[in-house]
C-alpha cells in the first residue's frame, strides 16, 4: 500500500489561536497527528483543552493559523471554503454533540440531502438511506421530523447522514455529550460496529467510557498532545479487571 492510501489524515504543526474579548486563547499549540486507514482514534481531555478546535481544523470548519493538513496524502493548504464543503460531503463525515439536523426536513430528507448534493442519483440516495436507517434501528422513522425524536435517535440520524456518502474518515465531536447513559452506550456500540467494518474514526470526547471503544487514545491538554497510547486490551498488571469487579465483604 502506498503512503497516500494508508494515511487517511495527517496534520503537521497545527496552531490556532482564538482572538475574542480579553486575552487570546491558544486553543491548538503545535499539533502533529497521523491517522491510518481503519484506525479508531479518540482524543480526550478537559473541556477548554482545545480538542474541539482541533477537530474543527481537521474537518476544515476552521482554518489553522499555521501548519498543514493532508487528506489521503493530498495537501489541503490551497483549499477554499467551497472545496472544504465538498470534502465534507465526500471524504469526511462529521457528527456533532447537538446533532445539527435540519429541523424542517424529515429524517429521510436529512439523510438523503448530502448524497443528492454530492451528485448521487435520487434512487441510489434513497436506497442508501433506507439501508442506513434500518441498520441504525430507525426503520419506520423516515417521515418523522427531528424534533419528534429522542436525543439518541437524532444522533443516529446524524450518524446516517455523516456516513451516507461512505466517507473514508468519520469525525465525531462529543457525539454522546448531550445523551444519557443509555444513549452513550448506543453511540459507542454503533461506532464500534462501523469501525469493525473498516470505518476510520476520529472521536473527540471527555467521556472515558466512549474513548475506550477506540484502539488509540490521545490525551489533549492545553492545546497539545500530552500522551498518545495504543489500547491493546491486554490485561493490565495487578488484579486488573477482577480487582475492579469483585465484590468484597
Amino acid at each position: 500500500m502506498s503512503e497516500s492510501t494508508a494515511e487517511v489524515l495527517r496534520a503537521e504543526g497545527l496552531v490556532k489561536t482564538h482572538h475574542g474579548e480579553g486575552a487570546p486563547a491558544h486553543a491548538v499549540r503545535g499539533v502533529d497527528l497521523r491517522v491510518a486507514r481503519g484506525e479508531f482514534v479518540a482524543i480526550t481531555g478537559p473541556s477548554g483543552a482545545g480538542k474541539s478546535t482541533l477537530l474543527h481544523l481537521l474537518g476544515g470548519l476552521q482554518r489553522p493559523d499555521a501548519g498543514s493538513i493532508w487528506l489521503d496524502g493530498e495537501c489541503t493548504d490551497g483549499y477554499g471554503e467551497a472545496r472544504w464543503a465538498v470534502e465534507r460531503r465526500k471524504r469526511i463525515g462529521i457528527v456533532f454533540q447537538f446533532f445539527n439536523l435540519v429541523s424542517d426536513l424529515s429524517v429521510a430528507d436529512n439523510v438523503e440531502l448530502p448524497a443528492l448534493l454530492a451528485g448521487v442519483p435520487p434512487r441510489k440516495a434513497r436506497a442508501e438511506r433506507e439501508e442506513l436507517l434500518a441498520e441504525l434501528g430507525l426503520a419506520g422513522k423516515e417521515r418523522s421530523m427531528p424534533g419528534e425524536l429522542s436525543g439518541g435517535e437524532q444522533q443516529r440520524v446524524a450518524l446516517a447522514r455523516a456516513l451516507v456518502n461512505h466517507p473514508p474518515l468519520l469525525l465525531a465531536d462529543e457525539p454522546a455529550g448531550s445523551l444519557d447513559s443509555k444513549g452513550t452506550r448506543e453511540v459507542m456500540r454503533l461506532l464500534s460496529r462501523f469501525h469493525r467494518r473498516g470505518q476510520t474514526i476520529l472521536l473527540v470526547t471527555h467521556d472515558a467510557r466512549l474513548a475506550s471503544a477506540a484502539d488509540r487514545v490521545i490525551s489533549f491538554f492545553d492545546g497539545r498532545i500530552a500522551d498518545d497510547a495504543e489500547l491493546d486490551g491486554v490485561p493490565p498488571r495487578g488484579r486488573g479487571i477482577s480487582g475492579v469487579l469483585e465484590l468484597k465483604d
Binding site: 447513559s181 467521556d207 489500547l231 491493546d232 486490551g233 498488571r237 486488573g240 465484590l247
Partner: protein, 171 residues
C-alpha cells in the same frame, strides 16, 4: 463472601454448588467467579459461628451432600447487614502518594506517572466495555455491576485529568 451466601440462603435451603450457580446467574459472566472450594470453606465457617446449619442428605449414587439453611442468628446478621450503609469508595491512595512524593525523590516525572496510570485505566475501561458487550443484554444486575466499575474508573480518570491540569501549570 459470607453475607452474600447468607442472603442467598434467606430464600430457602441450598447446597454449596447450588449457591455457586445462583451467584453466577445473578451476577453474570463479568463477575470473577468464586471457586466452589472457597464457597464450601465459607459455609463451614458460617456453620461454626452458628449462622447456618447443615444437614446431610443421602444421594443414591453419589456421596452425601450437605444442605444448609439459615438459623435465627443468621437471619439477624443479615438484617444487621441491611441496616448498615456501605463505606465510601476511596481515592487511589498508593498512586496519590507516589505522585505527591515524586518531585522529592527525583526518580519520576509527575506527568509521566499520570500518563502511565491513565493508560492502565483506559485499558481496563476497554476490557469492561468488551465485557458489557458480551454480557447477556437482559441481565440487568450484571450490567449494573459493570457500569458501576466503569463509572468509578471514569471518576479516577477525571481526577487524573485534574492532577495533570494543576501540575502542568506548575511546571
Amino acid at each position: 463472601m459470607r453475607l452474600p451466601l447468607l442472603a442467598l440462603l434467606a430464600r430457602g435451603p441450598a447446597h454449596g454448588y447450588e449457591l455457586k450457580q445462583d451467584l453466577e446467574q445473578l451476577l453474570g459472566s463479568a463477575y470473577p467467579q468464586p471457586n466452589v472450594g472457597q464457597i464450601y470453606v465459607t459455609l463451614g465457617r458460617l456453620e461454626k459461628s452458628g449462622l447456618i446449619e447443615g444437614e446431610d442428605v443421602e444421594q443414591s449414587s453419589r456421596p452425601n451432600k450437605k444442605v444448609y439453611h439459615l438459623t435465627d442468628a443468621g437471619r439477624e446478621a443479615l438484617r444487621a447487614w441491611y441496616e448498615e450503609t456501605a463505606d465510601e469508595p476511596r481515592v487511589r491512595d498508593e498512586f496519590f502518594m507516589k505522585l505527591a512524593l515524586a518531585p522529592q525523590t527525583g526518580l519520576a516525572d509527575q506527568i509521566a506517572l499520570i500518563n502511565k496510570q491513565r493508560r492502565q485505566y483506559l485499558n481496563t475501561m476497554r476490557q469492561l466495555s468488551k465485557l458489557a458487550a458480551a454480557e447477556d443484554r437482559d441481565n440487568r444486575i450484571a450490567h449494573l455491576l459493570i457500569e458501576g466499575a466503569m463509572l468509578h474508573l471514569q471518576a479516577d480518570l477525571d481526577w487524573l485529568e485534574r492532577c495533570q491540569e494543576e501540575l502542568e501549570e506548575l511546571q
